[in-house]
């Protein structure tokens, strides 16, 4: 067994505690913006964790993961527009539809390998992006404003910033726990085995295609749920949330944080978005600093932030 009190684990634990305490700090200091920023970070971290499930553990690099953010978001947006405001309908439906899309995309994409897999997932995401662009009834390019957040029969009031934040944090923690259980289960062993040597896994009689596809669908469903949250936070959904650069951002978060652990991408999401905020406070031209920083991290800190915390070694 791995040791529990490594530097990495302590930092991750501290980060999760910090995430849970953001509303307390925000209320104490009256800094409302911090809540908005961190709600967004928590939601995107959830998407990054789901991407890391297939990318870090399954070796399936999806360059179209933001498509599920879009699908989840649009299901909420379209249902709200058509008068179905109940979260009991919106949320499960969004997750199911995201999973269905992941099933179709995964079933076709998993026939390819490596870079071809990266590109075919991108191709499907681009198709969905252009469907979003052409949805004339639902705002097309300009996007769709959501006038009422998902309604849970008065049980949970999502319009309350603190409540909404804790819903997001709870779902993020549940995702981390669920993915952690998953990768350490027999199922997870098969997925990781198929990443290192698929032929060998097949030779011992494991139908790897089905396992990988199942994993792909689970990741799509989780990301769809993150899309639901994103739409509720912004009260708005537009094709921009599934642009390919958004998928690139999710990959950057996962790689930056470190793909070796379930919670690594949370580090990446927090680091990237806080860095963006902080640098843009310093100079208008903040990307001129961020760009070389990302490059330097790749060159000198293999394994991302998580790798740094483990002593800079990449196995």
């Amino acid at each position: 067994m791995r040791k529990a009190f490594t530097l990495r684990n302590i930092v991750v634990a501290a980060l999760l505690v910090m995430l849970a305490l953001v509303p307390v700090y925000s209320q104490a200091t009256g800094d409302v913006f911090l809540m908005t920023l961190f709600t967004r970070i928590v939601i995107l971290a959830m998407a990054a964790v789901s991407l890391n499930l297939i990318m870090g553990f399954g070796g399936m690099v999806s360059f179209g993961h933001a498509a599920y953010l879009g699908i989840g978001g649009y299901v909420v947006g379209i249902l709200a527009y058509e008068g179905v405001g109940s979260g009991f309908v919106q949320w499960p439906l969004a997750v199911i539809i995201s999973a269905l899309f992941a099933l179709i995309i995964g079933a076709l994409s998993l026939r390819t390998r490596g870079v071809y897999f990266i590109m075919i997932t991108l191709a499907f995401a681009q198709m969905i992006y252009y469907v979003g662009v052409s949805l004339d009834r639902y705002g097309a390019d300009d996007g769709l404003t959501i006038y009422r957040r998902s309604d849970f029969a008065g049980l949970i009031n999502l319009s309350n910033k603190t409540v909404f934040y804790y819903v997001c944090v709870t779902l993020l923690f549940a995702t981390i726990y669920g993915v952690w259980r998953l990768v350490n289960s027999r199922f997870g062993m098969v997925i990781q085995g198929a990443r290192s040597n698929e032929r060998r896994m097949r030779a011992i009689g494991v139908p790897t295609y089905r396992y990988r596809l199942t994993c792909f669908v689970i990741a799509g469903a989780i990301c769809g749920l993150a899309g639901v949250l994103l739409a509720n936070q912004a009260d708005f959904v537009s094709p921009a949330i599934m642009h390919w650069t958004r998928s690139g951002d999710l990959i950057v978060m996962a790689v930056l944080g470190g793909m070796g652990s379930v919670a690594g991408p949370v580090l990446g999401a927090v680091a990237l978005l806080v860095l963006e905020e902080a640098l843009s406070g310093i100079t208008e031209y903040w990307q001129i600093i961020l760009g070389p920083m990302l490059l330097a991290i790749v060159l000198y800190a293999r394994g991302g932030i998580e790798g740094l915390l483990r002593g800079g070694r990449h196995d």
Partner: protein, 305 residues
């Protein structure tokens, strides 16, 4: 009919422009096994350099030549400073590192040239129309893009397939250590190939800048198309890139021009005008997905792989 000829030529022109971008990308990808998201930055730099040098020298051809040299130099410098250290790494490291470069170059351009775009003005001899067939006029400039790109494609093919340098490039692709052991300076060769790829992208960018304007981030959407091209064509295959570029250029341009009309034959007018634009934007991705499902390695997989 006239419209069809014109749109087909436009498709061909767009396809050849894509080829210039895709050729550099596939050389770097196939030979050095490097995924370079910053390739579009050289496309953008080529456009800005050309606009600047043309304005400075007051001479179109002079400005273009200076811009190509400048893009080549920037490309080689980037290889020496950053890219060189990424060879042999995971593809994901490439994505993250070159994504960083892309952000850097976008911001650098904003810092130097400001947020507004720049125009590249054409000399009068290029800014005319030419009568191709009786009654069929076509833009002289677009025609010259077709000619230039075809010449570049031919030269590239000859260099890679028929010269000693090309032989070394191809050998370096299959076994880098062996070429090094033979006393060839493989590092320098790679730097040169990367620079040449950058210059090709710069050429595509500056030619496009005279049709549209030079803008920040102009390389990003076309970069995705260039990736589509090399994936359809087969990674590392110049021939595959050439055929796939023309295929993608034609499908994209002709699809945008005529798909709505074709749909009107089957659907109501309203449905066709809604579905048309969406479907034509999706068309090439649809083609790519179908091709990859049928032939997971692309149409013309490079022989060595």
């Amino acid at each position: 009919m006239l419209l069809f000829v014109e749109q087909t030529l436009n498709g061909l022109q767009f396809g050849l422009l894509l080829f210039l971008l895709a050729a550099g990308l596939t050389l770097v990808f196939g030979i050095m096994d490097l995924v370079n998201l910053a390739h579009g930055s050289f496309y953008m730099l080529g456009a800005y350099f050309a606009a600047t040098f043309t304005a400075l020298t007051g001479h179109f051809i002079g400005g273009v030549v200076l811009a190509l040299i400048a893009t080549l130099m920037v490309g080689m410098a980037v290889e020496v400073i950053a890219i060189r250290r990424l060879y042999g790494r995971d593809h994901l490291d490439h994505v993250l590192g070159t994504f960083g470069l892309l952000l850097f170059f976008n911001e650098l351009v904003r810092l130097i040239w400001g947020p507004a775009g720049m125009n590249l003005t054409l000399p009068s001899w290029l800014n005319t129309s030419i009568e191709l067939m009786p009654g069929v006029y076509y833009s002289m400039y677009r025609l010259s893009i077709i000619v230039v790109a075809l010449v570049v494609a031919l030269v590239l093919y000859l260099v890679v397939m028929r010269t000693r340098i090309g032989m070394l490039i191809r050998a370096g692709a299959s076994n880098r250590e062996m070429i090094g052991a033979l006393g060839i300076n493989i590092k320098l060769l790679f730097t040169f190939v990367f620079g040449a790829g950058a210059a090709l992208a710069g050429l595509a960018g500056l030619m496009q800048a005279a049709i549209l304007t030079a803008q920040i981030g102009m390389g990003e959407n076309i970069l995705i198309l260039a990736f589509v091209v090399i994936i359809i064509g087969g990674i590392g295959s110049i021939r595959g890139a050439f055929i796939a570029s023309i295929l993608v250029g034609l499908i994209d341009t002709v699809g945008r021009a005529f798909l709505s009309d074709v749909l009107k034959l089957f659907l109501s007018n309203a449905a066709a005008s809604t579905a048309g634009p969406a479907l034509s934007s999706m068309l090439i991705y649809l083609v790519m997905a179908v091709i990859l499902v049928m032939r997971p390695e692309g149409l013309f997989p490079a022989a060595s792989k």
